[in-house]
Amino acid sequence: MSKTAASSFSRLDETDIQGFVLRGYTFPVARYLFLEITDADKAQRLIGSLIDQITTGEHWDQGKPDSTLNIAFTYKGLTKLDLPDATLLSFPVEFFQGMKARAGILCDTGKNASEHWDPIWHEERAHVWLGVYAQSFEILLSRCATLQQAIDSSGGARVIGAQDAGAIVFNGKPSSKEHFGYTDGFGNPDFLGVDRDTQPGQGKLMPDGTWAPLATGELLLGYADEAGELPVAPVPHILANNGTFMVYRKLHQNVKTFRDYLEEKSKIYPGGKEKLAAKFIGRWRDGTPIELSPDRDDHNLARDKQRNVAFTYGGDLDGKRCPVGAHIRRTNPRDAFGFNGGLINRRRITRRGLPYGTYVPEGEPVTDDAEHGIIFMALNASLFRQFEFVQQQWIEYGNDAHQGNDKDMLIGNHGGRGRYMIQGTDDALNPPFMCGGLPNFVELRGGDYFFVPSITALRLIAAGAVDPR
């Protein structure tokens, strides 16, 4: 393990990196536009005209803007932009194939198979992702109208789909809740050089128990990663540097199924419904880590940035507090697999998710079928080594977590046969508990892999000047 290469610089060029990569915007509303490229030259000019509007990682010293714009491309999109073959052939194979073709690895089968995806994903026509975030829905509409006009008049691309998303309004305010009622969005890792409001518990665990940023190359292309190597990246390096890869997955949530299951099981779970909900994922629904507060939620703890991601599982290998297979423990195992957490530092992803659809408060009539879920977006330098590994090995298979074939309780593709064991203690209110017959609480409705270029790379693409030599 090398810490030399990565620590030789202190600051990234934030003006060259798309802002979406470096920070979560925490805007209340967003729309993701999907474009089909119909003419390479005209689409290049369209991109050129958008570059100055792309939100970079620069600090918002003048205050938060009204809205933001970011851009990313599928492999098919890059071919439609006439990138040179030598460049196209140099991309990693999983990006070349796209997410649909990776179904076997991702376990996107059964109810998650591509025949159940939204129509825009049926053909490979979603070439460009435009992410627009705004302070209000009105601003969002006006920004998108302007964009639509630019796209239409370019003659190089057309909008084939739009996905709205937004923070769930909870008690009258935009929140970080998702439709099952959990507070989401904890635990994104820190990276060297990324200037961010850091919290203990993010990044990687050091031998002395403190936390340090991960190598920049786990997030961005062109920098050393945790193995002291450069991530696999396309040529020329100037196209790759300061860019990254994004996973986009529309995850439909079967809200009725989830609430019914929780209700049904909590009838015989002595710890009560909220504790059972907490045991499912590893956090109480207000966000309190169950590892730190196993008996009750604690709003102060949930909000305390010094504590709400600062925990390990080494003292709880039996899962007496946080079950060994709980969602947050499987997907970010910290030190749970031993070696002081060293096994997981090359498997971390940066999540940029937002819910979509209208939230139905607990106790009100709810269905599975309404349009509600989460737009899961994750950024990583290697789709194969990071996102795909987490999905394949930690979500759809349980061996690393000593859970045999058991999948992730919350988002596993169970097909009605899933099983989740909650470990317990002698305490009558914390007994071992078996959850069987797990259905799919979450179903995949589409998505793909995207390349998120730097501003410099966008200029090269727009100028038709990508030169692999």
Binding site: K267, R417, P431, F433, G437
Partner: protein, 217 residues
Amino acid sequence: MANQSGSVYGLTVLSPVLDDPEAEVSHNVAIRKYLSTLPRDESSPFSKVSSTHMARLVVMEDVVFVGHPAHEEHLKSQYLVFESNFDGDLDTYLTRMAQEIPDAVESVWSHCVGYPGLKNVRAFVAYIKRCQLTTTFYFADVNNKTVQQTLRALQIQSGLARFIELNQGKPPSEIQSAFAEFWNSVETASPLAPGAKGVGELPCFAAGRAAGSEGGD
């Protein structure tokens, strides 16, 4: 012994492949052709030798020259590589191979130098031992349990999980009688064959009895 980890034995065999320019089909190609027909699941011949945890057969052609500054080198022969992790001692295992999957053994090793055939099982055992590559340490990807113990443990684990799911929260007396039935079911259940489907399906969970649980196996 270094080739043994608890009750599990790690066997590596390198058998030189016959080199016969006159042969209609060269021997390495013949081995590969046969290997390509072998099923890789529970119908593999090695599942008949029921003490086998895993086995692999590969033809090693040569060492690959990776360019300067490496030296270009070549093996004197092509080799058949046979790897197996199994329960018990080597003599017993090789004897079982000779007796239980003679066709597979014959189809592979008849293309190898010095193979004595299977008429004399002791000669075959001695031959394989002559080709054995011993080690001082090997990675045993199985715990110190036999194949049958492992399958049995999976059967019980899966069954117990189902038992808990169906009975948790019931009054102790009901749990006790249900457990008695469950345990009787476990004790009388027939042993599982490798690759058996429905590891958790014990008679006590037969159709009708599991009513009330949603969507189970």
